[in-house]
């Protein structure tokens, strides 16, 4: 007796997807072939029983934990709004809706402009002061983020990384610090956030080599994927070459390989 029925026939028959002639032929074969019948008989009780297993219920704390996480995230996102968004939101709160009041505001603005002209003399010194204040702020932010990054708690390190995103010119030391976290931080979320932050400085010449290097050190597929996405965005011959080498490596995770292949194919 030749058994020409592939595995899918057994599975389709069990799941009731085998119909008509196929079903008749398969059933006939089962009645004639002891070997296939034995296999089928062995499978059937397991097939039936497994579907009747009760679904395990997670503890209610899972829900509360999730919504707590979501609230926290919402609060963070609010503070990470771009300057433009914040300015818009602020303007919306005070800019009057009535045309008459708008006109009054306009006249007020024209008068202010007049005063402003008279201040032109002193303006340059004021400007000087302002830029000092701004510089001080940047230095402060840089110091705060540096110290947050050294913190034990992953949530603080995440805050530190978010703060770096607000610094106009982070300088080499902070970028180095980010790369260091990509390579050595024990927490995957911190590593992911650091990858996102570094993406902002992808035009710095040394970033490409540093990221390629970091990719080969990573053991987390999700961080690997995040780095790969940036390298692909850079669309630079050398990064693409090293990506190809990376996916040819036997040790590379199949999901990461598939993702990279797909992204590379999208580029072509």
């Amino acid at each position: 007796m030749k058994c020409e029925f592939p595995e899918s026939y057994f599975v389709d028959c069990l799941s009731g997807q085998l119909k008509g002639k196929d079903l008749r032929l398969f059933k006939k074969h089962l009645s004639e072939c002891g070997r296939c019948r034995e296999i089928y008989m062995e499978m059937k009780p397991a097939w039936q029983k497994i579907a009747s297993m009760p679904e395990p219920r997670p503890a209610p704390s899972m829900k509360t934990d999730f919504y707590r996480m979501l609230e926290k995230e919402k609060a963070c996102t609010g503070s990470r709004m771009s300057l433009r968004d914040r300015l818009n939101a602020w303007l919306q709160t005070w800019w009057p809706g009535e045309p008459v009041v708008q006109l009054a505001c306009f006249i007020g603005a024209v008068l202010l402009a007049g005063f402003f002209v008279s201040f032109v003399q002193t303006r340059s010194s004021m400007h000087h002061e302002m830029s000092h204040v701004q510089q001080d702020m940047q230095i402060l932010k840089r110091n705060v983020s540096m110290s947050l990054l050294q913190n034990q708690a992953a949530s603080d390190r995440l805050k530190g990384i978010a703060l770096i995103g607000q610094i106009a010119d982070p300088g080499t030391s902070l970028v180095e610090e980010l790369i260091d976290h990509i390579n050595h931080d024990p927490n995957t979320n911190v590593r992911l956030a650091a990858v996102d932050a570094v993406a902002l400085y992808s035009d710095l010449p040394e970033i490409r080599t540093k990221l390629t290097d970091a990719l080969n050190r990573q053991d987390s597929p999700s961080v690997q994927i995040a780095i790969i996405d940036i390298l692909i965005q850079m669309n630079e011959t050398r990064s693409l070459r090293s990506l190809k080498a990376f996916i040819e490596n036997r040790e590379t995770d199949p999901i990461v390989r598939e993702h990279t292949n797909r992204r590379l194919a999208e580029m072509m």
Binding site: P6, E7, S8, F10, V11, D12, L14, I39, Y40, M41, E42, M43, K44, P45, A46, W47, Q48, K49, I50, A51, M53, P54, E55, P56, R57, P58, A59, S61, M62, K63, D65, F66, Y67, M69, L70, E73, K74, T77, T188, N189, L192, A193, D196, D219, S220, P221, S222, I225, A226, D229, D253, I255, E258
Partner: protein
Amino acid sequence: MKHISDHDLMISVKDGDLDKLGVLFERYHQKLYTLFLWQTRNAIISQDLVQEVFMRMLKSNKTYRGEGQFTTWMYCIARSVRMDHYRKNRKKMTSLDQAKEIPMDGSDPELQAERQSEIDLLYRAMDQLSDEKREVLVLSRLQNYKYEEIAGILGCSVGTIKSRVFWAIRDLGKIVKSMNGICHEM
């Protein structure tokens, strides 16, 4: 409420409406939890992993491009979360002894003793399958995904999935048989 597709919800999340992630959580946390529980055999770890999946959906929502199914993307994250967990805890993998008790916390105390012992037996049998086979059984038999959907989730062909289901059920049948004496039903 009108049914909003997973895809539309995730696009809203991407656009900053984080509350929509709550809707996705309500839709999928149970499924992810069941899957993780079968993989890790530990209720607490499974809860943490589910949390981690949703956390990563937020953190990496830029990678969601909405090509293909949302579930494919979600399960892809779930797999990488699980792998990260395994890598980190390779030395501390749960042993079979611990595993025996763990899935019980989800079972119904009112179940009759006989049915309960049958379920226990299945748990132990499932536990002896490889991760790959158990995953495909959980998705197809416990969560009722179509083979086409599972193929999308796991990134392989329908034929491969059916073949994997075949070997999974066949192995499971053999294990149950050897644990149970001979089964005779058809």
